[in-house]
């Protein structure tokens, strides 16, 4: 049994300590918005926030998560889809299949929290999530829009 704090609530999970946080979220906590894409921290589909930073949850074992760590998933990013990144994504119709988008949005939100007005170079350096549908152009525009730029 481990205690972790997810989306503002402390929950108890019955899972092996080696289980990646991704699967704890998806299978033990029914938070399926966070996606599995590679399992080796190579694609970003599983990105969540741990204490505000973007973390690839497929490579973070449950035993490495402290009870005091604040985990936020896509389900907890905002109450009603009103986070600036979600709103920008809505305005620009960013998602195609959408599968990568939870991770993309979480990565973008973490970037903006740290760098409120990111440059294209900041985006290139910080956003390495894979989108096979190829939404990158709109993702970039969405980040600028969420930052208050015009895109």
């Amino acid at each position: 049994m481990a205690k972790i704090n997810v989306n503002g609530r402390t929950v108890t999970v019955d899972a092996d300590g080696a289980t990646p946080l991704l699967w704890v979220l998806r299978e033990n906590l029914d938070l399926t918005g966070t996606k599995y894409g590679c399992g080796i921290a190579a694609c970003g589909a599983c990105t969540v926030h741990v204490n505000g930073a973007a973390v690839r949850s497929c490579a973070l074992p449950l035993e490495a998560v402290a009870e005091t760590d604040r985990i936020v998933t896509i389900e907890g990013l905002s109450r009603d889809g009103s986070h600036p990144v979600q709103r920008a994504w809505m305005d620009l119709d960013v998602p195609q299949c959408g599968y990568c988008q939870a991770g993309m949005i979480m990565a973008a939100a973490a970037l903006l929290a740290r760098t409120p007005r990111p440059t294209d170079a900041d985006i290139d350096a910080e956003i390495s999530n894979i989108c096979r549908c190829g939404t990158y152009q709109r993702v970039r525009a969405g980040i600028h829009r969420a930052a208050g730029g015009k895109a």
């Binding site: 894409g37 949005i105 549908c133």
Partner: protein, 734 residues
């Protein structure tokens, strides 16, 4: 796939209305081909909306549900199809919801929704007429019901945004108020479709209908399916195509936490069923498996290359396009130019790995899965279930990418396996999920080919004859041999065909295009853009070579051979003009062009590229144009064009599946590299619908992505890359 979809337009239509359904659901409108049984009007089990199939459902609360037969995998077809129906229905767009039609319902209703195939970029181009007719027929019935209630001629009434108005009196009512009455009326035999010029919903850059849930984690994909009592399965499949399971020892795995069962799946896979997928996957690693490697265990990439290489000079080949006497003309020319290109295996790499959830009992089987081809998924489920298709059901989930991997042909292996596993646990739903590694090594790969092009050149630098020899793998031979035409695979000739959706967009007096079929053991598949991808590289890069050999401008050189191809000329000229072709680019920046006709659309691109002395390639900007005849949602066409560059350039720059000991070597995204946001050029898309035809959108542009960039790289470096991916040529992205 090149062929036009075979379908019947204007089938015999028949209302299907049942009292209970009409009462429960308001109006259910639509039409169907005559039913095989039951006389048509009575829908078995009709009693609530979900069990009644039709294109349009109108509810008393004014909600309009538009039924969708094709699959949404990101390409926006769901929204586009709904726009087409809503346009003719004249409903309030803000009241529109959508719903998938299940394939078994299509079977029992005699194919009322025709094809579910979401392949070949034909979601819209293959169904625009009959879905619009479905909307128009519904509108007429709603108007007729209102007119009848008012005692006025229907011809005096019109519908707009879900409101019906009687012109002379000014009386109004709404769809929701008359839907029950309309349900009892006959479906009109003939309906007139609007002139696209008058469209107010279709043709507009409306927002997608399926975005909100994708921003909050609420969208349920196949991988997210949860059913009461559901267990989870992980699978280990044959390590190489042709291998078989000899034996396995599950003792260790069975003792591990959560494990319920270890199951042999067919004769080439073993699966662990556990409470959670992570437990199943962990336990699977403890299963010792002995494989019988079969005949392919010693095949390496070099063997495949040699096999394909041999075909370049082979005497026998299938002729795909022939005009005049290419060989004679080339031989008689003052100069000959020849080049050989090759294109490797590629993987679809959908972001959502293969998965399916199955619930089996001796009487019935249900499957929840992502599929581009619900009919094929149903067939796979029924076969694996040992049941007739009418006892099976496919619940389609939004796809986390398709790109052809979940498309036509017997490639629903994941569905088949899920049902086989579920059969071992009757009454318990089991979700099967492949690891990325299983997904990567059990694909339906973009086929491997080489191409030798030979041209004869006259003293003006003009082309006297062109010879195109393709050697390599046939998708149809690999997965749909029944579709071969006398042994020939017509799909091989995309963008090089004499006519049709993939006609070559040049006219040469002497031309010979043929194919020496050489099929390696890897399973091929339709990979977004299919054979247009490499064929456009072959032809468009070679045209560039010929232009440079003749010392002529690549645009002017191409246009000389495009006199009979006005639509192709128009898109090519458009990208050249917008990109500033003929005017100097920024310092160090060079341009390249490409055009082709694919999936019945005309596309072109101009790329702006710089290459540093160290071989670092930077793609600055792409100007692209698409003429798909009609443009149902221009902003979604832009999205497809933008995405096409990511897909096409990922393959050209870095993607390849290599073979060692018969196995695909790439196992995950660390070795199968794809573009990321830092690699993404700025894409400027021109949507140029010229009317009069319906072309595809999701795939055509991929074909021009690579050659435009390659021709720009040549302009920048003088170096012609003919083997892919580019990373082997000493060039790389920043």
């Amino acid at each position: 796939m090149t062929t036009n979809p075979t379908r019947t337009i204007n089938p015999t239509r028949r209302a299907f209305v049942t009292g209970s359904a009409a009462a429960a659901a308001g109006l259910v409108l639509g039409f169907t081909v005559p039913l095989g049984r039951g006389g048509g009007a009575a829908l078995a089990g009709a009693g609530h909306t979900d069990e009644i199939t039709a294109w349009v459902v109108v509810r008393p609360d004014e909600t309009v549900i538009i039924r969708i037969a094709r699959s949404e995998m990101g390409q926006g077809t769901l929204t586009g199809l709904a726009q087409l129906v809503a346009e003719e229905l004249a409903c309030d767009w803000s009241k529109v919801a959508t719903e998938y039609v299940p394939p078994s319902r299509n079977l029992t209703r005699g194919g009322a929704w025709k094809s579910f195939q979401t392949t070949g970029s034909r979601g819209i181009r293959g169904s625009h007429d009959y879905v619009r007719e479905g909307g128009a027929a519904a509108r007429e019935m709603l108007i007729a019901a209102a007119a009848r209630a008012w005692g006025v001629p229907a011809g005096e009434c019109r519908a707009d945004k879900g409101v019906i108005t009687h012109g002379p009196s000014g009386k109004t009512t709404t769809f929701g108020k008359v839907c029950a009455a309309a349900a009892g009326l006959p479906v009109p035999d003939k309906v007139a479709l609007k002139n696209p010029k008058d469209w107010t919903i279709a043709g507009k850059p409306l927002k997608r209908l399926d975005t909100a849930d994708k921003l909050t984690g609420k969208q349920v994909y196949g991988i997210d399916v949860r059913l009461p009592g559901m267990l989870n399965a992980a699978i280990r499949q044959y390590p190489l195509f042709g291998a078989r399971l000899r034996s396995f020892d599950a003792a260790k795995a069975l003792a591990m936490p959560g494990v319920r069962k270890v199951v042999k799946v067919g004769d080439d896979a073993v699966a662990v069923v556990a409470d959670t997928w992570w437990q199943a996957k962990t336990a699977l690693e403890a299963v010792d498996v002995v494989w019988d490697e079969g005949p392919h265990g010693r095949i390496d990439g070099a063997d495949i290359a040699a096999m394909v290489d041999e075909g370049l000079d082979a005497k026998d080949a299938f002729v795909g396009n022939k005009a005049g006497d290419a060989a004679g003309a080339i031989a008689a020319s003052v100069k000959q130019v020849q080049a050989t290109y090759s294109y490797p295996f590629q993987h679809h790499a959908t972001m959502e790995p293969m998965n399916a959830t199955a619930l089996w009992t001796p009487e019935r089987c249900e499957v929840w899965c992502p599929t581009q081809s619900a009919e094929d998924a149903l067939a796979a489920a029924a076969f694996a279930a040992g049941l007739t298709p009418d006892r099976c059901e496919i619940h389609r989930m939004h796809l986390g990418g398709g790109f052809g991997r979940r498309g036509a042909g017997p490639i629903h292996d994941y569905v088949h396996q899920a049902v086989r596993i579920a059969r071992e646990m009757p009454g318990t739903p089991v979700k099967l999920l492949w690891t990325r590694e299983e997904d990567m090594t059990h694909g339906a790969y973009h086929p491997v080919t080489q191409c030798r092009l030979t041209a004869g050149i006259d003293d003006q630098g003009g082309i006297t004859g062109l010879r195109v020899r393709i050697s390599g793998q046939s998708i149809l031979a690999g997965i749909m041999p029944g579709r071969l035409a006398g042994g020939m695979d017509p799909v091989v000739f995309q963008c090089l065909a004499p006519k049709g959706d993939h006609a070559i967009a040049y006219s040469f007096p002497n031309l010979l295009v043929d194919h020496a079929m050489r099929n390696p053991h890897l399973r091929p598949g339709f990979w977004r853009g299919v054979n247009a991808n490499q064929n456009a590289i072959y032809l468009e890069c070679f045209m560039d070579e010929l232009a440079h050999a003749a010392g002529q401008d690549p645009l002017a050189f191409r246009l000389k051979y495009m006199k009979d191809h006005p639509k192709s000329r128009a898109v090519l000229q458009a990208v050249a003009d917008k990109a500033g072709w003929g005017r100097p680019a920024a310092k160090g920046v060079h341009r390249g062009l490409a055009q082709c006709k694919a999936f019945a659309s005309y596309v072109a691109a101009c790329a702006e590229v710089s290459v540093s002395d160290g071989g670092v390639v930077k793609i600055h900007r792409i100007v692209a144009a698409t003429d798909s005849g009609h443009a149902v949602n221009p902003q979604q066409i832009e999205a497809q064009v933008e995405g096409s560059f990511v897909y096409g350039l990922s393959a050209m720059l870095m993607g390849e599946c290599t073979v060692k000991d018969g196995r695909v070597e790439q196992r995950n995204f660390d070795t199968y590299e794809v573009m990321r946001i830092k690699d993404m050029p700025r894409v400027e898309t021109m949507v140029m619908p010229s009317g009069g035809f319906w072309g595809g959108v999701g795939e055509p542009t991929i074909a021009v992505a690579a050659p435009a960039v390659l021709n720009a790289i040549f302009a920048a470096t003088g170096k012609r890359v003919r083997d892919f991916p580019l990373k082997h040529s000493g060039l790389r992205l920043a």
